[in-house]
Symmetry: D2
Subunit: 108 residues, 4 copies
């Protein structure tokens, strides 16, 4: 993971692109790439989307990841730390027992 | 990275949530969380956004990451592989020399 | 339509809000409100979404409309003119006869 | 406004497209077109965006409008009614006097 972040940063630093990377514009980029990812599923079922657009889906997932890692790194956030913190917070918000009850209700 | 993916999958499997995770709905979730991330920068400069919203920015980055990893995993995509492939493709599209010329033109 | 635009502009001018409305931030707002609209359909079928979220869907459609009209007006664009121009362009791109053939192929 | 809605509906009915227009997919389309609109402002100031992308900005505003009107119409919502209701609700949430105080504080 640290290696991958290094490769991403190397990519932008070789091109002197970090000067353009305001946090706000990187957040816009994450959102735009997420929309391009979603576009592959527009008017389609999962099966149709994967059959027709698998390569593009793969590339857009990579694009979202790349911009997200740039933004996290520029904010001095360690992705592992913040994901683990969020999972812990979500686990408190959605306790396993309560969720199973809700799942059950949804099908009753 | 593999550990983190395991923890994300464990989180949804303990709650039996994978049954709801169509690719299309996960792609929608990535896009919605990316918008919630961007919302922290609405009407604000970078400095203002970070001063007021740092904690929420951190959580939304984690949310985008979590849904993105779920989607990639459900599609049997290895995130390291697809990111490296995309960086290679981008490097061919934006050769270092040409980019430096463009950067220079932008300030001339 | 002109009346409605006047009411929208009156709303922001009474609050002296136009000073904050950069085009870029209004475009961000249109995108964020569109995501909040879409959020009503997350993990749901049309029927479920309308049953549970009709009131919120209605409000988010209004929010997208309000920001879109502000942006168009700030750019001196007449919405009727630009929509008609786009419909004409789309009609040339998707001729009725060709579309009917494609529709038919999709079910064959 | 009613005329414009009729022209939009005529466009999709001539192509028998209403059969594909689930509410969820239309909401996705509004969100995707809003992102394409926002893309014109990525890495740019307002002035740069308008100088380079005015024509595309205009077309994307029209696209957001077209899908938004389709969705509202399919849900039997009158756009004038729901926008006026939202403006009234917003006016209660943001009373003119309080907003002026907040505006003042922001510059103090």
């Amino acid at each position: 993971m640290e290696d991958l972040l290094k490769e991403i940063n190397q990519f932008r630093d070789e091109r002197d692109w970090r000067q353009y990377h305001s946090h706000k514009d990187l957040a816009i980029s994450v959102s735009l790439e997420a929309s391009e990812l979603l576009e592959n599923f527009q008017w389609k079922t999962d099966k149709e989307a994967v059959a027709v657009n698998k390569q593009n889906i793969q590339e857009e997932i990579a694009d979202v990841y790349i911009y997200l890692m740039m933004l996290a790194d520029d904010l001095d956030l360690d992705i592992k730390d913040i994901v683990r913190q969020k999972l812990t917070k979500n686990a408190e918000k959605y306790p396993v027992d309560e969720v199973h009850e809700l799942n059950q209700k949804a099908v009753d």
